[in-house]
């Protein structure tokens, strides 16, 4: 798939800012980066276009199960962008995790997820909820 996209021009929507430029990335031996990019309104779009063609990455945001908090789910995110093709594999790992309240925002939930060099962190703080833990202990007994 990669070799095909390299031979042809590819249209990509830049997701860096709300303008959402449609940019065309082409293989170009004469340019220093090896690619020529057009349609981008700013420099960031050029870098994004090349990156998107060669090594597309995304920040992943989702939730993990949490015990003893006000809600059942704790929102989490990767602290940097991970390769796009690892997103579903990461989701599998994340969906096996369960954490306990309290949690502080920024706490590392999974270190170096799938060897990406990126951590999964809590994206909010959650206190222990007295009510939830009481209900749980009633159920358990």
């Amino acid at each position: 798939m990669r070799s095909e996209s390299e031979s042809k021009a590819k249209e990509i929507i830049c997701i860096i800012c709300p303008v959402g430029c449609r940019i065309i990335v082409k293989r170009d031996k004469n340019s220093s980066s090896g690619y020529s990019v057009s349609g981008n309104e700013c420099k960031k779009g050029e870098a994004y276009g090349i990156e998107e063609l060669t090594n597309p990455t995304r920040v992943l945001t989702t939730t993990v199960k949490i015990e003893g908090a006000l809600y059942n789910r704790l929102p989490v995110r990767t602290d940097g962008a991970i390769p796009k093709d690892k997103i579903f594999a990461c989701m599998k790992v994340i969906n096996r995790i369960e954490v306990k309240a309290p949690v502080k925002v920024g706490k590392v939930i999974i270190e170096n997820i799938l060897d990406t060099g990126i951590h999964l962190i809590a994206s909010r703080s959650m206190l222990r909820s007295m009510l939830r833990s009481m209900l749980r202990s009633i159920k358990a007994s």
Partner: protein, 427 residues
């Protein structure tokens, strides 16, 4: 403080503890308001942000790419540091023009309070099926995208397995991705117009990334199923967004999600007699975010639906400062008043009125265009004089436009109407 009539009084009371209410309360405190109370009907502060777990918040205000809950937490922490009172799980039932409020919760019961200044920050609600009128049965499995977002992200329940999404607002696009990540199949996303309502970047990173089909010029004409949704009948739409007979197609699904827009939540404002703008659905406001009733201010989605929370924060800080000034009697209530007027291609402008004496160094005008424009200009006129032209590569109804003007331009002359219109390139 209890007043002589036994009613508890505050300098500033804020209705709603979302990003608008938080920023407004913090800013009032910093500008000298004494006692402040934030009233929130939910179990915690943060408003809708607590369910928006995706990133993309805070790029302007913090120069960081935050998720909704992270963005909210920074303000909640600041509110606590400033020791601002908040009443959670508390609903404002009624507001009157003399700035009394009836509130209710499980710990104080029914209570009447009053405030020198009130800030409306109730946010918005989603349009539902009723607002768009889809015929058919009423089985379970029809949700608004925001309700589904709350279920999944906070309670951890997946709303369905096979999903059809009607509407392409940003919340809908983000939910299409979210559901796919959680293992549901989003069969198709339908836009009634020829372009998606949300941002292109969300179409790219939520639909294209996951190969979710997007059908433009399509709508749902019938919902099938007795107890649970079993399918929906979709059809092509004409230029007026009406379904074209004979183009129907059946999609098998167990859930229909609606992402068909937001409306400012203004029951309280209406009952108090606050004048509303028929286009935005929110209060008519001035440069200080003051409404038509003295001492009642408004900010955030209750005024007009924002797509960037950063702009909500800016606007709400202004409302907070104004309320503090009003309490300290330093807000000007007389002097030259300019009206803003949306011209060709502009649906609305906020603020509606500008009292020149209250302006800081710059004036910000927020507006939305009525259709998609490429390579056009926004032209600002003070009466008949063009005072500003802003080039725009692209403008869409789904993206709010902001123009900053140097207040000097307005202070130096006696302007009565400030208008903005879209001018296409080459005209």
């Amino acid at each position: 403080m209890k007043g002589s009539d036994g009613v508890k009084g505050y300098d500033v009371a804020v209705i709603g503890g979302g990003p608008a209410g938080l920023a407004a309360a913090i800013e009032s405190k910093k500008h000298g308001a004494g006692s402040i109370c934030v009233i929130e009907r939910d179990r915690e502060l943060g408003g809708i942000l607590q369910q928006c777990i995706h990133n993309g918040f805070g790029l302007h205000i913090f120069k960081e790419d935050l998720t909704g809950p992270e963005y909210a937490e920074r303000f909640i922490d600041e509110l606590k540091e400033l020791e601002i009172t908040c009443k959670l799980d508390t609903m404002v039932l009624e507001l009157s023009a003399d700035r009394h409020m009836d509130i209710i919760n499980t710990y104080d019961g029914f209570m009447r309070i009053k405030a020198e200044a009130i800030i409306l920050a109730m946010g918005c609600r989603e349009r539902t099926r009723g607002a768009i009128n889809i015929p058919g049965t009423r089985p379970a499995g029809v949700f608004t995208a925001g309700t589904a977002q709350r279920f999944i992200n906070m309670e951890g329940c997946l709303v369905g397995r096979k999903i059809v999404m009607l509407g392409t607002g940003d919340i809908g696009l983000i939910m299409a991705r979210r559901l796919t990540l959680e293992g549901a199949e989003v069969k198709v996303v339908l836009a009634r117009r020829g372009y998606p309502g949300g941002l292109m970047r969300n179409v790219a990173q939520c639909l294209y990334d996951y190969n979710i089909p997007l059908l433009l010029h399509h709508t749902v004409v019938k919902i099938m199923g007795k107890e649970r949704v079993t399918g929906v009948l979709i059809a092509r739409t004409d230029e007026e967004r009406k379904p074209i007979p004979g183009t129907e197609e059946l999609y098998d699904c167990d859930t229909l999600l609606l992402s068909v827009g937001l409306i400012p939540e203004n029951e309280l404002s209406r009952e108090a007699g606050v004048k509303l703008d028929p286009v935005t659905g929110g209060p008519v406001v001035d440069e200080s975010m003051g409404t038509s009733i003295r001492g009642i201010f408004a900010c955030g989605n209750v005024v007009h639906v924002h797509d960037l929370v950063d702009y909500v924060t800016d606007e709400s800080r202004r409302a907070g400062r104004s309320a503090a000034k009003f309490v300290q009697k330093s807000l000007k209530e007389e002097g030259l008043l300019i009206k803003t007027k949306p011209g060709d291609g502009i649906r609305y402008i906020v603020p509606n009125l500008i009292r020149v004496d209250n302006l800081d160094d710059t004036l910000e005008l927020f507006m939305r265009v009525s259709e998609i424009y490429r390579n056009a200009r926004l032209m600002v006129k003070a009466d008949d004089v063009v005072i500003r032209k802003v080039k725009k590569m692209q403008m869409a109804p789904g993206e709010m436009e902001r123009i900053r003007l140097d207040s000097k331009i307005l202070k130096d002359r006696e302007v009565s109407v400030l208008s903005v219109k879209v001018e296409k390139e080459g005209t």
